[in-house]
Amino acid sequence: MRIECPFCGERDHSEFAYLGDAGCARPAPGAADAQARFVEAVYLRENPAGAHRELWYHEFGCRSWVQVTRDTRTHEILEVRLAGASAAP
């Protein structure tokens, strides 16, 4: 797989470290049901057969976290953008 890093251009995926599901935002720590929400965010991650929004870290490059949308059935990369608020959907 080749991932188009927003800073470095197209690079082999072996330059990146993988974290997984990009959809699970950190829940509000003060909420009454915080523990249940954290369990969900940490353990019940998306695992679709199809388009998957996921986080990769360009560890052997610019050390940016990028959000990749990738089809898990074909490994086709549909979109790459910087992760975090600067890349708000």
Partner: protein, 416 residues
């Protein structure tokens, strides 16, 4: 027909015309007491033990394609019970005991070969961790031996003891570990289960679950609706997808793991060896090929294939461990979809939906667990309570914090 040398000789005289199908290729009935989704090793074993141990024969195993072509037919065939945690070790030892009597039980030669599993260590810290694990095994009566480098060398002169970046210091050996012929395990369970009256239904893909309130009452399939008192999901790799049909989310990610086999050569490796300083483990099949693997590719995937960096990584592990395989050729590679749980340990449990049971999250350890997973899933289905050796494999342990993390990697499936 019973399999034996005598029946083989008899058939040889009549041109082998009298052999019957190993299992009945059943058409689905409209209802069963128990439906098991997934015709892999686990599902077929569960069906067999339901019939054999619990006398439940109104059972169907539904397989979307042909039996045994998922992870049951894509693994590297290793069996072992060298686990650390007190919740895991007795379970895998039950599996090992079942392996040891499997052929006589099933009347099928699954080539269970207890040739030994040797985990090499290359540092003091690694040795200490192995000693802790080996002692945990011994406390449960499981065999474990600590070998120093000299004894490893005597056993495996083909390994690199001189020029290695991370020299071999020794190894933890489980002599009762080894390999089994994966396809034969599937076929043996299928034949035995079918012989006891279980319906094995191939080309029958489950497309939905029938539900009344919070109760699951059957399945929708490509061959029609089938009702059932209980439905068990045993579809490693696809657990999340089937669970989603019931509106459940699981603490599981699907990851690709590649496996490899070399061309066949005369015997060079007497046992299963895992490299402790890189991603590589290997055994030699009875046919002569080196069967080996390494780490996950590391990203969610349902593609049943991996990429080149992992191939290179695994082969460099192999060359670092045994540079004598440099001119040996990699013949085939393939990928399986691993049900990676969030703590690296499995789930055999009820679900929040009545009538729906789950056998999942086997990571890359599912093959060796086949007999015990089937045994304990059958127990859960028949008795409505977890088998005592599978009690820790709960679905809610992530919420309660009773994690079973052998490696201490945390909720990061690609690191387990």
């Amino acid at each position: 027909m019973r399999y034996s040398l005598a029946s083989l000789l008899r058939q040889a005289c009549s041109g082998h015309r009298g052999w019957e199908p190993a299992w009945r290729d059943a058409s689905p009935k409209s209802a069963y007491e128990v439906i098991i989704i997934g015709g892999g090793g686990h599902g077929l074993a569960a069906a067999y033990y339901l019939a054999k141990v619990h006398g439940l024969t109104d059972v169907a195993v539904l397989e979307k394609g042909c039996i045994g072509l998922g992870n049951a037919g894509r693994n590297t065939t290793i069996i072992r019970s060298n686990y650390l945690l007190a919740e895991n070790n007795p379970f895998y030892e039950l599996s090992m005991k079942l392996w040891e009597g499997l052929e006589q039980d099933l009347n099928y030669n699954a080539m269970v070969s207890q040739r030994g599993v040797l985990n090499l260590f290359h540092s003091d810290a690694q040795r200490d961790a192995f000693v802790r694990r080996g002692n945990a095994m011994r406390l449960h009566g499981v065999d474990a031996e600590l070998l120093d480098a000299r004894r490893v060398r005597r056993m495996l002169p083909i390994l690199d003891f001189d020029g290695a970046r991370f020299p071999i210091q020794g190894g933890l050996l489980q002599r009762r570990g080894g390999t089994a012929r994966h396809d034969a395990v599937v076929w043996g369970y299928a034949r035995a289960a079918s012989g006891l009256g279980v319906d094995i239904v191939q080309q029958c893909e489950v497309t939905g679950l029938l539900r009344e309130g919070t109760r699951i009452t059957g399945v929708r399939t490509t061959r029609g609706e089938i009702r059932a008192g209980k439905v068990a999901v045993s579809v490693a790799g696809h657990s999340s997808r089937v669970a989603a049909m019931a509106g459940l989310r699981l603490p599981i990610e699907s990851h690709v793991l590649q496996a490899f086999v070399s061309e066949a050569i005369k015997p060079v490796l007497p046992c299963v060896v895992t490299f402790g300083a890189g991603h590589f483990y290997v055994s030699q099949s009875d046919k002569g090929g080196l069967v080996f693997g390494g780490d996950l590719d590391g990203y969610n995937s349902y593609a049943q294939r991996g990429n080149l960096p992992t191939v290179e990584d695994v082969c460099s592990g192999g060359m670092a461990l045994m540079p004598a395989i440099g001119r040996l050729r990699l013949l085939r590679s393939w990928g399986g979809i691993m049900d990676m749980s969030m703590d690296g340990s499995p789930i055999i449990d009820r679900t929040p939906l009545e009538g729906l049971y789950l056998n999942a999250g086997w990571c890359y350890g599912g093959f060796k667990a086949t007999p015990a997973a089937g045994y304990c899933l059958a127990h859960l289905l028949a008795r409505e309570e977890s088998h005592e050796l599978a009690r820790a494999f709960r679905l809610d342990r992530f919420a309660t914090g009773d994690l079973l993390d052998e490696k201490g990697q945390g909720p990061q499936p690609n690191l387990h």
